[in-house]
Amino acid sequence: MAEIKELQAKEKVAATVPPEQTKPGPVFNPNVDILETEKDIIMLADIPGVKPEDLVIDLRDDTLTLTGEVKQASRQNAEDILMEYQVGSYHRQFTLAEMIDQNNIDASLNNGVLRLTLPKAEKAKPRQITVRAG
């Protein structure tokens, strides 16, 4: 078995394309894994603090946009003594190279990790092409 490595502390990275915001505040780039199986494109994103109702996933043409707002309950009379990480919204945008079957997109949010399954449209699935002799 592979050796288990230590997790490194990392500061969040500011979003490269910050969206137009109605409320001011920092916007971060969530860490994502994007992988492809024969049928689907799967995207996993770490968005701790985002509740399902505050997450917006938008697929328009070939642009996938992910926006998650973090609503922090502020404690009254509590004073900050150490702030190592910032709390803010998440935003990231991708251009998809494949055609997606828009009707069968599945998204689930579990313990701060979004799992988005984007099924490839029929014509984008790989097909074996047989060459006829003639």
């Binding site: 701790p48 900050d80 313990n111």
Partner: protein
């Protein structure tokens, strides 16, 4: 400075000039933040997970971002003034026949000790985990709570 740089390197386009401005703006923001007392960046221990700590008269409140764990996978222990958060984040395998386009999420072990400024009530610590955020409420020991002193 920007002008000088542009003169020194004729190929330095407008884009980099604007990048400089952007960086200056961010630096200024950070400086102002420190003056106002919201010193975000200068201090972090460099140990996963990063934590935010606040306090009121009775308790310390500790929060940490730990996406993708189960609550049973996080261990919290406490002695005297110290609180330890440890566990392991596992990134599940997606199977054999997958191709990765991006892989930014990381798994691994973590073990962090937080030394609090006062003694704590070790038996009354409460922790909750939701949406990937760990929140711990640590009551201060009786002796560490501020006392009102009346003047006779």
């Amino acid at each position: 400075m920007i002008l000088k740089r542009m003169l020194d390197f004729p190929n330095y386009g407008w884009r980099s000039a604007f990048d400089d401005l952007e960086r200056m703006r961010r630096d200024m923001d950070r400086l102002f933040g420190q003056v106002v007392g919201r010193a975000y960046w200068p201090t972090h221990a460099g140990v996963f997970p990063l934590v935010n700590i606040s306090e009121d008269k009775e308790n310390f409140f500790i929060s940490a971002e730990l996406p993708g764990l189960e609550s049973r996978e996080i261990q919290i222990s406490a002695t005297g003034k110290n609180l330890t958060i440890s566990g392991e984040r596992r990134i599940a395998s997606e199977g054999e026949n997958v191709k990765y386009h991006r892989r930014e999420r990381e798994g691994g072990q973590f073990n962090r000790v937080i030394a609090l400024p006062n003694d704590i009530e070790v038996d009354k610590i409460q922790a909750s985990y939701s949406n990937g955020i760990l929140s711990i409420t640590v009551p201060k020991a009786e002796a560490a709570k501020p006392k009102q002193i009346s003047i006779k």
